[in-house]
Symmetry: C2
DNA sequence: TCGGTAAGCTGACGGCATGACAGGACAAGT
DNA sequence: ACTTGTCCTGTCATGCCGTCAGCTTACCGA
């Protein structure tokens, strides 16, 4: 699938080249965590990586391009989120546990990658196709699983006919993402971390099944 | 509350000054709608406003500072969102209508101000206090109203004791904001605008009351 | 061992944005 | 007309951007 890694001017990158390339990505990643996106400069990233700006431009067209690269790497990891839902039940006590574990796993994933996800979210909101395709890629696993779960319950008559599984799943995923990236905002609102999770899980359960969980 | 409008170097702005200041803000606003936040340059804003960069720096410390100003103006307007919930009932058919109108009004508001809200969201996610205080200010009206509604239903025994009204309200508001700013993403996911709203309204209703709406 | 070739890196440069200042234009009152 | 304070801009030093030519390094086949 992934062809060879190439420089901007078309050369194939060897071992050493890939190393510096990766180092630049790592430094950019750190940079994004520590300073606002708008203020991240190529020269700072290069300095941090112990190299020169020119080297940066050899591997990436610009900062945005490098961010896309990082996000791409993360998207692969994000596919692992499917495990949170694969083969899980949404009925009875098991359903409540499924919801809880989904929230837990999702929030953890988001926290671990918050810096890049912030930027991806921004790019997507700004209407950049590359970014919202990436966002889709990251969220697809969870979204599809949720959508399937709703559709299945619907086919069994446990959920109203006029519910749109895709819309519900998408909204719930959007909620999870938003809650994850504004966790600090919640504490400022007087809601503690520990209290937040079960309540979000409750909302997820309600959304998927239409019923309160049996705990 | 708002003292006199002042320039960066402390002078009070007169009529003419306020006009150019406002013009700069308007142009910045437009700029934010048409190009990515990262690429908005002072010089472009100034050119668009038919003035020079130096003038911009007379009224604002930097782009961020000007954005905060715009957001502040919008926050005032955002307080009007309270009307969507003031004195509304969450019981029976009226409850369903309340949910629908809330979703409608909120999405409309967000769409109207999406460019600035995007930036505010980013700033808040990046942990900038000024931005997440502003975000709180904007969302407070809706958040508090929702929180009160849940708390009231709870006191009547219609909602479980272990529900945290603040957490529920915050999560729902976060969902609304996220859905609003990623509406395009939904259509890319095969969910149409028209289908989205009622499903989000359903989630809101479920979240607040714990029950399916009677339509 | 020894070129040859491609990969890898950087110094340097024109171009542009930033942010500061001093001075000129302008409006309003006297 | 003169004064005063507001308002705007030309200009400048600084620093980042993005590119290129050219140097160094690693690999490979003869």
């Amino acid at each position: 699938m992934t062809g060879q890694v190439r420089t901007v001017d078309g050369r194939v990158a060897g071992r050493r080249g890939q190393a510096t390339r990766q180092k630049l990505l790592d430094c950019l990643s750190e940079m994004l965590s520590s300073s606002p996106y708008r203020d991240v400069k190529v020269i700072d990233v290069a300095r941090k990586a112990g190299t020169s700006p020119a080297t940066f431009y050899q591997y990436f067209p610009d900062v945005e391009g490098a961010v896309l690269e990082i996000a791409e790497q993360m998207a692969a990891e994000g596919a692992g989120l499917t495990e949170l839902l694969e083969g899980r039940s949404w009925v009875g006590k098991a359903g409540w546990q499924t919801a809880q574990e989904l929230v837990d796993g999702f929030l953890e994933f988001w926290k671990r990658n918050d810096a890049i996800l912030r930027v991806v979210d921004l790019g997507a909101a700004e209407g950049d196709k590359r970014f919202y395709k990436l966002r889709m890629k990251i969220l697809n696993s969870v979204n599809n699983s949720l959508s399937d779960a709703v559709a299945e319950l619907q086919s069994k008559g446990k959920v109203d006919k006029d519910v749109n599984p895709g819309a519900i799943a998408g909204s719930l995923v959007a909620m999870l993402a938003a809650v994850a990236s504004h966790q600090k905002g919640f504490t400022a609102w007087g809601v503690k971390q520990a209290e937040l999770k079960p309540n979000v899980a409750l909302l997820v359960h309600l959304g998927v099944t239409g019923k309160k969980p049996t705990k």
